[in-house]
């Protein structure tokens, strides 16, 4: 290589080096620009992040509010919750709730003093002063017209106010009209310094408003419903009372119905017991006359007087008298026993404390009930009963008697021209079945579903209340007893009752 060649080579290298340097510088400044861009992006990112954080807080506020609002049991608590959340969210604002009427009366006032920065007692005074000087009419009509979040300088809505607040944002929550006045519920955010007003957050608050209104609306109708429910419960209770009374009346009515029969039933034995006693009176008189001499002077008794006594005894037919007296006394005792039974049956029936279930013998109850109606059946009807010796069940004698008497009487009424009432009692596994079957006119198919309905009757007005079966049914239900009705028109009807046997 020549010198020139070297020189050229050197020059070329030098230029390449220069270009490399220039490229490096360019790359470095590129890098610089790049890292600056990166830095700016980072700043932007931080800004975005804090924006996101803000949004996050707002979202939390809204969702938290949403979740809790629906859970609060009362309007007051909804507002309390709202105040609390709002006051935490709007860090710099003091929150107050008022309900303003169209005649500028403050109906309700609630505030939340949970915020630590509040010097609480002072704040209460501050709120008071503001409310006292507030131009309520203006605020009311303003919010009524705009129905949206509105910002005021406190001076513009007060008169002679000297408190600490300079600005206020009023948030109408709901409007409602009662019969004599209408109200607006308002959240007032009070600021000491207008720099503290955060428009973004206010927007969030504004968007929470509609949700809250809906919640309040719903709660209000819920509370109304609650009120109606209470009223309904009252009505229901009154109804239950009436029903109870009706039940007693029905019992009295069937008692009345029975009274005639029972009176007859009692009259009969009493009548013949009376006439028996009358006869006994005669018998005792005859015997007294005959035996009088024996009582006067025992020493004067001789053959003569003995013969006379004997012939007198023959005259009055003493053996007959003695035998008949015995029969008379026996039948009188029986008659009185009968009266006693009827009276005691009647007293179980009319006992009013009839709710307790106790172990009882169903056969006995059937017998007692039959006793009370035999009189009703004795002219044109027959009763055929085939009962178990013992049938222990849990029940109330009085109530079951009422049921049975009602069924018997219904059967009798269905057999106007006479017939037989068949009562059959039998066991099936652990159940006792009682069949009460008549040969009456039967029940029409379309009536079958109605017969247990209160006041359903096919009887002429004044003859039946239509409560008999309804009451019987509810009594049987209390006994966990089942009722089945088999009926065929013009053939007869069977009421089949099923009870659980007690062991």
């Amino acid at each position: 290589m020549t010198d020139v060649d070297y020189k050229n080579e050197f020059k070329a290298l030098e230029r390449i080096l220069m270009r490399e340097r220039a490229a490096r510088k360019e790359a470095e400044s590129e890098l610089e620009a790049y890292s600056q861009r990166l830095y700016r992006q980072e700043q932007q990112y931080k800004l975005d992040q804090s924006e996101i954080d803000n949004k996050q807080i707002q979202l939390e506020f809204l969702t938290g509010l949403l979740a809790e609002t629906w859970r609060k049991p009362s309007l007051k608590q909804i507002i309390e919750n709202y105040l609390e959340r709002t006051s935490l969210f709007m860090v710099k604002a003091h929150c107050l709730f008022i309900e303003l009427t169209d005649s500028a009366v403050i109906k309700k006032c609630q505030f939340n003093s949970a915020k630590k920065s509040d010097a609480e007692t002072n704040l209460t005074l501050e709120f008071k002063q503001l409310l006292n000087t507030l131009e309520r009419k203006k605020v009311y009509s303003d919010l009524k017209i705009y129905n949206e979040c509105k910002m005021y300088s406190v001076d513009s809505i007060t008169k002679n106010y000297h408190g600490i607040f300079s600005h206020s944002v009023m948030l109408p929550l709901y409007e409602s009209s009662k019969s004599s006045y209408s109200v607006i519920g308002i959240i007032a955010l009070l600021y000491v310094n207008d720099n503290d007003i955060n428009i973004n957050k206010l927007q969030t608050l504004e968007s929470s408003r509609s949700m809250l209104s809906v919640a309040i609306e719903r709660k209000r109708s819920e509370e109304q419903l609650q009120q109606q429910l209470i009223e309904l419960a009252d009505v229901n209770q009154a109804l239950e009372q009436t029903q109870q009374q009706l039940l007693e009346q029905e019992k009295l009515a069937s008692l009345g119905l029975l009274a005639a029969g029972v009176a007859h039933e009692i009259n009969n034995p009493v009548g013949f017991v009376l006439s028996n006693l009358d006869t006994m009176h005669d018998y005792v008189g005859d015997m007294q006359n005959t035996f009088k001499p024996l009582l006067l002077d025992p020493g004067t008794i001789d053959i003569e007087s003995c013969n006379q006594l004997i012939s007198q005894c023959r005259d009055i037919d003493l053996p007959f008298l003695i035998q008949d007296s015995q029969e008379i006394l026996k039948s009188s005792v029986e008659g009185l026993e009968r009266v006693k039974t009827i009276v005691s049956d009647l007293s179980t029936f009319s006992r009013m404390d009839n709710d307790e279930l106790e172990p009882i013998d169903l056969s006995l109850v059937v017998k007692k009930s039959l006793n009370m109606v035999t009189n009703e059946f004795k002219y044109k009807h027959q009763i055929n009963s085939d009962l178990l010796d013992h049938a222990q069940i849990l029940g109330s004698e009085g109530q079951l008697q009422q049921v049975l008497i009602n069924l018997f009487m219904n059967a009798k009424h269905a057999m106007q021209n006479g017939g037989t009432l068949n009562i059959h009692m039998y066991r099936e596994k652990n159940k006792i079945l009682l069949s009460i079957k008549d040969e009456g006119h039967g029940i029409k198919k379309e009536h079958l579903k109605d017969i247990f309905t209160p006041f359903f009757t096919t009887k002429a007005p004044g003859e039946g209340t239509g409560l008999g079966l309804a009451i019987s049914y509810s009594i049987l239900q209390q006994h966990s007893a089942k009722v089945k009705v088999n009926s065929e028109v013009d053939k007869g009807t069977e009421f089949l009752l099923t009870f659980f046997e007690l062991h």
């Binding site: 080579e9 070329a12 390449i16 270009r19 220039a22 490229a23 360019e26 590129e30």
Partner: protein, 181 residues
Amino acid sequence: MKGTIFISLQEFVEQNHGYEVWDGVIESTHLASNGIYTSTKNYPDEELFALVGALSSKLNVTAPNLVRLFGEFLFPVLLPFAPPDAKNAPSLRAFLLMVDEVIHVEVKKLYTDSNLPEFDYDEQNDNELIMIYRSPRKLCHLSEGLIQGAAKHFNQPIEISQPKCMHMGADDCHIKVIFND
């Protein structure tokens, strides 16, 4: 065109023909960049064409051939920047199919200002692949070289031909790759 391509071209020339040749063409072509390139910046396409023209006459090779050789040289330089899926492609064919929809897509994401060609594929035959190239830069020969470089990388003998070429007045270039197995 990205600085990388120019820097690679410089390396290609310096390694194969010496730095004086490179310095010579830079000195003789009077480029706006003055031959100062940084990898991520964009430079006018004309600079590349001017350099290729000057090199071709200085080295006495046709421009297509020069560009082909450069493409082959360029491939291993670019490959490291390809996404892993492409780098792990099971075959040359699979790799070539990814150029348009994977590799260049990633490039475009990283450098939104990059200018890339468009490829369509004709896959009618199993043992061949036709890559249909479209670009205002008409660098089909660079593609041929890059494909050749890729074939070397995948150890896959191929034959390349261009039955259709924009330089011959066609609307697009059909780069036909036959896989010789």
